[in-house]
């Protein structure tokens, strides 16, 4: 994977997350502790600041190091969760890059996120977006189709009741709002797919 593509992917994901700061914060104020937007902005900002350095590394290393930046800079639970996702993905990154190897790496990375968050799909978290996306990737879907899967999956978290994290304290009252982690995952997936579509 060439360094320009890595840099474009970083820029695209960071831009999308930073642009959504207010929305993510509003979602998190409804059912969490209201810091998801600012935390993700800080964490992804640190990745952007290191973009040139990351892009000069082999792709797997770059992904792993971006995960480490998130762990160190986010400041909330989403840091270790997104960080674990990227650090595991980077460790298992296929070289040369091909879809089946990437799909296996993503699936393993999601298992690591499940373990980190002690959570399963269906509990109103980022996993509810990332699992369907992982399946779509393994099934050979196009970037456009994967974006549609991510959007639908994020929407599907609205009626769910949270059982993990701050939102779980709200019990039934957590239903009726989209999960902020599901939304930030959807935005990141969309940004990656947009870059890949443009590169095709």
């Amino acid at each position: 994977m060439d360094s320009k593509l890595i840099q474009r992917l970083i820029e695209a994901v960071v831009d999308r997350i930073v642009a959504a700061e207010a929305e993510l914060t509003a979602l998190d104020q409804a059912i969490g502790d209201g810091d998801h937007g600012i935390n993700m902005k800080r964490g992804t900002g640190a990745v952007r600041a290191a973009a040139a350095e990351l892009a000069a590394k082999p792709a797997g290393e770059a992904v792993k190091d971006a995960g480490m930046q998130l762990v160190m800079k986010v400041g909330g639970a989403s840091g270790p969760l997104y960080g674990t996702l990227l650090m595991t993905l980077g460790k298992l990154w296929p070289d040369p890059l091909e879809r089946a190897g990437l799909a296996t790496a993503v699936a393993s990375a999601l298992e690591a996120v499940k373990a980190r968050g002690k959570s399963e799909p269906g509990q109103k978290t980022m996993l509810d977006v990332l699992f369907p996306v992982s399946e779509a990737l393994a099934a050979g879907k196009s970037p456009a189709a994967i974006k549609a899967v991510a959007a639908e999956a994020a929407e599907a978290t609205v009626p769910m009741q949270a059982v993990r994290g701050r939102a779980s304290f709200l019990g039934e009252r957590s239903a009726g709002h989209m999960d902020p982690g599901a939304r930030s995952s959807q935005l990141a997936v969309e940004a990656v797919c947009d870059v890949l579509e443009a590169a095709q």
Binding site: I38, G75, G165
Partner: protein
Amino acid sequence: MSDKVGIVIVSHSPEVAKGTADMVRQMVGAAVPLAHCGGNPDGGLGTDVAKIVTAIEDAWSEAGIVLLVDLGGAETNSEMAIEMLPEERQAKAVICNAPLVEGAIMAATEAWGGASLAEVRATAEELSPA
């Protein structure tokens, strides 16, 4: 280095972390290794893996350390911090499933008496509903 189990307090709020540590100090004195941290990397509410690692090092004891944490992110970030320790230290750093203030005081009281890591943790966790 102390032979007593150390206590690490991790809160989203630097003030809560410090206040809890002050209460522990007043109740059990200086014999128990104690460190606290709070706040995200910018100083706002949240937690910071690097600060947690430093606090663990500050309170380190060969008998081990227990971490008392407040909300979700404090726990996840503490788990990450433990994984960043040298391997031989990782098994000697445990997070207590206990309320922050009461847990820290109970754990410190137990540690002051020379209890083992497992005993200190169990005493703090008695405060949590089963």
